[in-house]
């Protein structure tokens, strides 16, 4: 495009146009940032609630079993010692999602599971503690998977939707 009027006028017009473009772009940018920020934050929060819940179910289950087992006042040094270890490991759990906590979580969970397995071994070796069946670790694992395993895609409360199996992907609810 060649100037058909004085350069000054054209430059002014160009500046004005570019300013306008920038203004519009910024307007859209802020809007996109804000609108989607809220949506994304909400989506992330839903996902965080779900993953948090799923990740701690089994630990809670172990804690519950431990309280019932401890109440049997079984006279066994190794059992009492391991119960105390599991309880202390559970007490040290933190709930945030920082890198540090996540790393701690994994090793802590491994220790808790192993100690709890040892407790079950001791318990199940002696059948006279009044538990009708052996407590099998896989049983707990299965329960927590079934409680946390599926999440219904949310439409409206009380209105059924198809079960969507939740495998680490985001679901709306």
């Amino acid at each position: 495009m060649s100037p058909r009027t004085s350069n000054g006028d054209l430059n002014d017009a160009m500046d004005e146009l570019l300013n306008l473009e920038e203004k519009f772009y910024k307007e859209g940018y802020e809007e996109g940032l804000a609108v989607k920020a809220k949506d994304n934050f909400r989506q992330g929060k839903q996902y965080g609630l779900q993953v948090g819940l799923q990740r701690f179910l089994l630990l809670g289950e172990i804690e519950g079993y431990i309280d019932v087992i401890a109440a049997q006042n079984i006279d066994n040094t190794s059992l009492s010692k391991n119960i105390e270890i599991v309880r202390s490991l559970l007490r040290g759990l933190r709930f945030d999602n920082s890198d540090e906590t996540v790393a701690d979580f994994d090793s802590r969970v491994l220790k808790i599971k192993n100690k709890f397995r040892t407790i079950l071994l001791v318990l199940n070796r002696k059948q006279n503690y009044g538990f009708k069946d052996s407590i099998i670790f896989d049983m707990l694992d299965k329960t927590s998977s079934s409680l946390g395993g599926t999440l219904k895609a949310y439409v409206e409360d009380g209105i059924g939707t198809d079960d969507v199996s939740f495998n680490g992907k985001q679901q709306d609810w």
């Binding site: 009027t5 307007e27 809007e31 909400r42 819940l53 630990l59 409680l147 999440l151």
Partner: protein, 143 residues
């Protein structure tokens, strides 16, 4: 030169520059707002997903730990006393149904910002039921 500039000047037939028409401005506006909007969306996505996740995670964790504990106590008690205690047996069955993740994480349990207002109603209900069984069998626990 972007097309948009041609648009602005295309109606210029005479010697003098015409003021861009309101239609041209609207086109310019739409196109740049859209471009900005998309960039804004991309920019915000990752950071805000992560921010939200980090905020929701601890609450989910606490609920999960609590639910797990409620179920764990009921299961363990059921293994020991379930044959004679019908209520305990029934409660375990019901708890396993009512404390499913899709029943616990529903909009009605949370405010519009997905925060719990006070205690979770279903969890609260089961805490008092499980406490009753614990008292019954002298289980020392903190729910």
């Amino acid at each position: 030169m972007p097309d948009i500039l041609d648009d602005v000047w295309e109606s210029d037939g005479g010697e003098e520059l015409k003021e861009p028409s309101s239609f041209d401005i609207k086109k310019l506006r739409d196109s740049h707002i859209k471009r900005g909007y998309l960039d804004g969306v991309t920019k915000s996505k990752d950071t805000n997903l992560q921010k939200g996740f980090n905020e929701g995670f601890p609450t989910g964790a606490e609920i999960g730990l609590k639910i797990g504990k409620l179920i764990g106590i009921l299961q363990a008690l059921n293994l020991k006393y379930g044959e004679e205690d019908d209520e305990l047996r029934e409660n375990l069955k019901l708890a396993q149904h009512e404390l499913l993740i899709q029943k616990v994480l529903t909009k009605s349990m949370f405010d519009p910002d997905l925060n719990l207002q006070g205690e979770h109603v279903i969890v609260k209900k089961w805490i008092s039921i499980v406490e009753m069984h614990c008292k019954n069998y002298s289980i020392d626990t903190r729910l």
